[in-house]
Symmetry: C2
Subunit: 189 residues, 2 copies
DNA sequence: CGGCCATGCGTACGATCGTACACATCGGTG
DNA sequence: CACCGATGTGTACGATCGTACGCATGGCCG
């Protein structure tokens, strides 16, 4: 039998399994028992490595948020001008995120928790702050807020629409939201 | 004692209670027992009036979606031009929706269910379709999609941000997303 | 006026949950 | 080599859940 000594991978495996179960069954369906089975560890390990369910969920969602934010940092860090940044945003939405039903589901689950429990709200805020910082390399703060909101909204629609989103629509939407509005000159009246 | 004969209000009261409990405790915390207590009906009434939990949730969220969509119809129906419609959208976001933590929480809960179960996805789609139809009175279809997405995103941010959203930011964001993008003329190079 | 049946309810059952905790295991230490 | 404490696990308990179902109730029909 494998050594009974401390196994540093054990914690990680449980966290990964937690995200898998949440993606498949939702937070509501994520029990210690199911996660333990998915991770291939005994039930007793759950309370040994994590004081309670909230601690496990907290760590899991923090890891999830960071993994998404890493992609923001990477894509946007490579952009060299505003147009490149716009393109990076479009790619982030289309390539990395919309294709992955898993990420969408996890995002929804996190938001739902965040709307109710302060701990998860903080995780979400940290995540959003990271995203905005990445966007802030190329856009002014107010635009970052709008752009961030638009990205969130496009997420949601992608999760629920039957028909796939057209990339052209995303391109146009990103272009619009990053372009300051100039009130048109009034014609005489 | 009150009559044992059929009470048509009973169903409605249960549905209203269900939304109250979901708003307060989330779908995860909404049990037959809690809803029954909130509605002031015995536990046995729950399975009498609703075949199972999903049927109750379905009816509750359908009612919720319709109540929000009604406000969209009303506000946008009163607008007479595009600027009026833009203002209506801003008002919808700020007056009716952002102030109400309850609506935000319910929206998140519905989306989370919708991401997983087809029944609730259909409810969400119907709701979105109603909203888009209302927006369609004043904007072209592509703009409706973008605007709808932006509204969703602003919702989410409102639920999670500590600081309140500035109305001016919303006004600017709505103006931008409803203004077609014109590629700027290139300077010589 | 007496019985019947639609309406509505109290209760109990089996499943599942989070968590606690006694106990097994075994590398390191003296 | 003996034992001790760190590491990890099996199991059981109390709470809560959705749901089923037998039974109480009382208007209505004959």
């Amino acid at each position: 039998m494998a050594s009974r000594r401390f196994d540093p991978d054990r914690r990680d495996r449980i966290i990964a399994a937690a995200l898998d179960v949440i993606a498949a069954q939702g937070v509501a369906g994520a029990s210690h028992r199911k996660i333990a089975e998915q991770a291939g560890v005994p039930l007793g390990s759950m309370t040994y490595h994590f004081a309670n369910m909230d601690e496990l969920l907290t760590e899991a969602f923090r890891r999830f948020g960071n993994s998404i934010a890493d992609r923001f940092d990477q894509e946007l860090g490579e952009a060299t001008d505003v147009d490149g940044a716009r393109l990076a945003v479009v790619d982030l939405i289309h390539l990395d995120l919309l294709d992955s039903q898993r990420d969408l589901v996890l995002t929804h689950e996190l938001y739902t928790l965040a709307a109710r429990k302060p701990v998860f709200r903080q995780i979400t805020r940290d995540w959003m702050a990271r995203n905005r910082r990445a966007l802030g390399l190329h856009f002014d703060p107010e635009t970052c807020r709008m752009l961030d909101a638009l990205i969130e909204g496009l997420f949601i629609h992608a999760a629920l629409d039957t028909e796939p989103h057209h990339r052209a629509t995303t391109v146009e939407a990103v272009a619009r939201i990053t372009t300051p509005y100039h009130r048109p000159a009034r014609t005489a009246h």
